[in-house]
């Protein structure tokens, strides 16, 4: 669906993106992670057709996005930094979008009034930042987009509204195969919604992962022994991390779950716990050297 090849962009002497490659499958939710200044917003502005690439190509559904109104009519872009016309209220802004986006779903707009519960006659620029974000989602969803580009989307939203918004979006993903690309500097935010994650750092994509795969083959084990910790424990498996505290051992191991557990049992631990891994931990342990870089990058 979204296909970015060798994208590069410089601002003056600053290289914002360097030969970036990225693929997002149709109907998936792709999380773009990276610290401030990594190039997330720059990449998204390219995907939205705002910036002209210095090099490389960006296609969505096989078509280049830059200066392509037909394609852009099916993209909803919700920037981190929202802009609304200073005098306009929600109703007028909705009308403005409905005239420019042929797929605008008026019925949906009316229906969503209940979800967002903001008086549509209020001037948008007078609303709080969080409410403005809600308006952006409200309008964005009504464009019936095939692609949603969300830059730091849940910033400023309260937890209840976060949940509501995500459920609306994920519903679209499920029903209409909408492709979503969402950026954040906070991994935890994306954990629940993304099926793919890419980490952007200094304008380059450090890695790309399918989260489902990740989750199944990395395990965090906590073992306690009555005496010495036996040597050669789990020697057959790939131990990504090992931390010993007296007779308590903490291991991060890659491998099939059953096999790993069977190996561990052989050493007769007093306690054997399989602990849940956070996405952050997976990244850090999985990636080794690169992962430790990421540790500094991700919060």
């Amino acid at each position: 669906m979204i296909d970015v090849k060798n994208l590069s962009k410089t601002f003056g002497r600053f290289q914002a993106l360097a030969n970036l490659n990225l693929q997002v499958k149709e109907g998936s939710v792709y999380g773009l992670l990276g610290p401030n200044g990594a190039g997330k917003t720059t990449l998204i502005k390219h995907l939205a057709g705002v910036y002209r690439p210095d090099g490389g190509t960006i296609t969505i559904g096989g078509q280049p996005v830059y200066e392509n109104p037909q394609l852009k009519a099916r993209i909803a872009y919700i920037p981190d930094d929202l802009f609304f016309f200073s005098q306009a209220n929600i109703e007028e802004t909705a009308k403005f979008y409905s005239r420019l986006y042929p797929a605008w779903d008026e019925e949906r707009y009316q229906r969503l009034k209940q979800v967002f519960a903001i008086d549509p006659r209020r001037r948008i620029t007078r609303l709080s930042k969080g409410m403005q974000k809600q308006v952006a989602f409200w309008l964005g969803i009504c464009l019936l987009p095939q692609v949603m580009l969300l830059d730091e989307p849940v910033d400023g939203l309260d937890p209840v509204m976060r949940k509501k918004v995500w459920s609306l979006i994920l519903q679209d993903v499920a029903e209409r195969q909408t492709t979503v690309l969402v950026s954040s500097h906070n991994l935890r935010e994306l954990e629940d919604v993304c099926d793919h994650v890419g980490i952007l750092h200094n304008g380059e994509l450090l890695l790309e992962k399918d989260l489902d795969g990740l989750m199944t083959d990395i395990h965090k084990l906590q073992l306690a022994f009555s005496g010495e910790v036996p040597a050669g424990l789990l020697s057959g498996e790939t131990v990504l991390h090992r931390e010993q505290n007296g007779s308590v051992l903490l291991l991060i191991v890659r491998g099939e779950r059953e096999k790993v557990l069977a190996q561990a049992q052989k050493a007769n631990p007093l306690i054997l716990d399989l602990l849940p891994l956070t996405l952050e931990e997976i990244f850090i342990y999985e990636l080794g050297g690169v992962g430790y870089d990421c540790q500094n990058i991700l919060i």
Partner: protein
């Protein structure tokens, strides 16, 4: 997934009604305000003046002239034309200047052409509608009131056309300029700089060259393209260039189309991430930086030169300060930071270039300063304070034969001896004096190969008297200064002789014989005038006005030294008819000159009725000691009251208090203190 869902395609069109509608909705108030002002300035104003215009021809003409956009007196409208389109362009394209707005606008499903044309169309609608409405109101008034006696429908149409033309042109220029910057204030500033830069730079360069290059003349043929810069032309509100022609209209329209076209191209290549930058295109950043440096440098030089002294150290000091200020300001604006010291190399390179140029000027590399033609190469030479007689003569031949402009302020020399004398004078003028004074005179050679050599120097008549003497005493000079020398006798219609001190009727000569006799004597007297006499400041009260058959008259003073002319007038009995006689003066009042700021009514004064003293005062010749303006503390203001049929007539003069006078008069003067 199907991307081409039929009926859901955002049509690729030249403009978007959604965008235009949104622009109109957001900026309708600009058009409304403009329309309101126009209605106040024109139809409403006309209605208020309606009654007055019925009686007064001037009022009617003033109303008509208020519809002349280019040549009339419509400053307010013109101000609106210069401001409204610019404000609109800045508002419409302001979204390019913040990254939030630009991202929103450009994520819309529109091509850049569509955005551009939509905003331009919205702007044009907001400019056209108020003007059109005003024109309709004017037309309505024209049909229903007596305003149709002041101006016609054609006037209204012309007003409509020209207002729309300039609105469109200025809007196009403002849009064009806006494409090069990412900052709204810079947009406004650059826009007006763009309009005025050519003329400002022209002035600055000429001013600086005049100060740096001795003898440099800011000569121009008076008809340069700079006159046709539209905003200058409108603000000038002058008939100097005549009515606007169809050719010029086409040119302005063409320029508008060109600006719109180029602006679109620039928009398409513009990088949107430059929102907020003062200059959007890296290529133009050095142009901006060094352009600002040059302008502030010239301004600094001109300022210091005019405030203090026009000497090299002062002017180059001004250059240094001006360019430093301009360079670093521009650099700070470009980098949006105060930490710009790393850019010092660019300034050094600039300074070095300017230093080389200045050294070239100082050493006169081109030989401009010292170029004086050999008298043998010169066909003729023009010498005078005024450039226009030369221009009319040499560049535009269409000048009426009888125009006074031909005679005033300049002299032609074609006699080899005279040319030699002017060249000798020119050699003296080359030495730049410590203090320059005197009127600036042009020296313009027409060389035998057809080229012109134009120089301009301040000529102090006292300093250069020895070189000026043969020039001034030449017949060609006198023919220029006193046209009667070469005037055709047949062309003289009448001669009027009058003493300006009395209301007595003048003597008017129409008899051919008398005209010939008087003219002949006057010519002799003029031919015999010496340099010293020509330059002396005298007080002569009798005027001889020679009027030709075309009605043009030239006045000549009957100088005290013109004894042959006075003698002839006495012989004919005319002198006594016109001259003021001591007996006709009833009394004289002496007044001390007012102190600055003092009420003139409070000046001390003394009345004199003593005949002897009156006669002495009447023939006093104080002019020899005159300063430039014979007034102030050291002077006495003398008013003569003369008997006239309708009561008292008075004339006055100033005399210095320390003038040598009789004890009787001295006593009166002392009474003033």
């Amino acid at each position: 997934m199907n991307w081409g869902v039929s009926g859901m395609i955002a049509k690729t069109s030249l403009f978007s009604r959604g965008l235009i509608g949104s622009d109109l909705k957001r900026f309708w108030w600009v058009g409304a305000l403009y329309g309101l002002f126009l209605v106040l300035i024109l139809p409403l104003h006309h209605l208020m003046r309606l009654e007055q215009s019925l009686e007064n021809k001037w009022a009617r003409e003033a109303l008509q002239r208020s519809l002349y956009v280019v040549t009339g007196n419509s400053e307010l409208q013109v101000l609106l034309i210069c401001i409204v389109p610019v404000v609109l362009a800045a508002l419409l394209f302001r979204y390019l200047n913040t990254s939030r707005a630009v991202a929103m606008m450009h994520s819309l499903p529109c091509r850049r052409e569509t955005l551009y044309t939509s905003h331009c169309i919205a702007g044009l609608i907001l400019l056209v509608l108020p003007v059109l409405l005003t024109a309709l109101v004017l037309a309505g008034l024209n049909l229903t009131t007596t305003l149709n006696e002041c101006y016609s429908m054609l006037n209204i149409l012309q007003w409509l056309g020209l207002t729309l033309l300039f609105n469109t042109l200025f809007f196009a220029v403002a849009v064009f300029v806006g494409m090069f910057t990412g900052n709204t204030i810079a947009h406004l500033v650059f826009n007006y700089i763009f309009h005025f830069l050519p003329i400002g730079l022209d002035l600055l360069v000429k001013y600086n060259l005049r100060e740096l290059v001795w003898g440099y003349s800011d000569f121009n043929a008076g008809n340069t393209w700079l006159n046709y810069l539209p905003m200058m032309r409108l603000l000038e509100q002058s008939t100097r260039l005549g009515d606007i022609s169809w050719g010029q209209i086409t040119l302005y329209l063409g320029a508008a189309v060109l600006f719109f076209g180029v602006a679109l191209y620039v928009y398409k290549v513009r990088q949107l991430e430059t929102a907020g930058d003062v200059v959007s295109f890296p290529v133009f950043r050095p142009v901006f930086k060094y352009g600002v440096s040059i302008c502030t440098m010239l301004l600094g030089g001109a300022y210091f030169g005019s405030m203090y002294q026009n000497t090299w150290p002062v002017i180059t000091g001004g250059y240094l300060l001006g360019s430093l200020l301009g360079y670093w300001t521009a650099e700070m604006l470009l980098q949006k930071s105060f930490k710009v010291w790393a850019a010092y190399k660019g300034y050094l390179a600039y300074a070095a270039t300017i230093a080389v140029l200045l050294a070239g000027l100082a050493t006169d590399v081109t030989g401009y300063v010292h170029r004086i033609p050999d008298p043998g190469q010169v066909q003729k030479v023009y010498f005078g304070t005024n450039m226009f007689p030369w221009l009319y003569q040499e560049k535009l031949l269409a000048i009426p034969e009888d125009s006074r402009a031909r005679y005033e302020g300049g002299y032609y020399f074609t006699e080899p001896d005279n040319i030699k004398n002017v060249v000798l004078l020119h050699h003296q003028l080359l030495q730049k004096p410590q203090v320059t004074k005197g009127p600036r005179n042009y020296v313009i050679y027409t060389l035998k190969n057809g080229e012109h050599l134009v120089r301009q120097y301040p000529v102090d008549e006292n300093r250069y008297s020895s070189a000026l003497k043969p020039v001034y005493e030449s017949l060609e000079y006198k023919q220029g200064r006193f046209p009667v020398l070469s005037q055709n006798l047949e062309a003289i219609k009448l001669i009027e002789i009058k003493d300006e001190r009395t209301p007595k009727a003048p003597v008017i000569l129409v008899n051919r014989g008398e005209i010939a006799a008087l003219t002949g004597l006057l010519r002799q007297e003029i031919r015999d005038l010496t340099f010293e006499e020509l330059n002396a400041r005298t007080t002569d009260y009798v005027n001889i006005n020679i009027t030709d058959v075309n009605g043009n008259s030239v006045p000549y003073k009957l100088r005290k030294s013109f004894s042959r002319v006075s003698g002839w007038l006495q012989d004919q009995g005319y002198y006594d008819q016109i001259i003021l006689k001591p007996g006709e003066i009833i009394y004289v009042v002496l007044e001390s000159e007012a102190q600055p700021g003092q009420n003139p009514g409070l000046r001390s004064h003394v009345e004199i009725r003593d005949r002897e003293i009156i006669e002495e005062l009447m023939y006093l010749e104080p002019s020899g000691k005159y300063k430039e303006y014979p007034q102030g503390e050291g002077y006495v203001f003398v008013r003569f009251f003369v008997q006239a049929s309708s009561g008292l007539y008075d004339y006055s003069m100033n005399i210095p208090k320390d003038l040598t006078v009789s004890p009787g008069l001295k006593a009166y003067i002392n009474q003033l203190n």
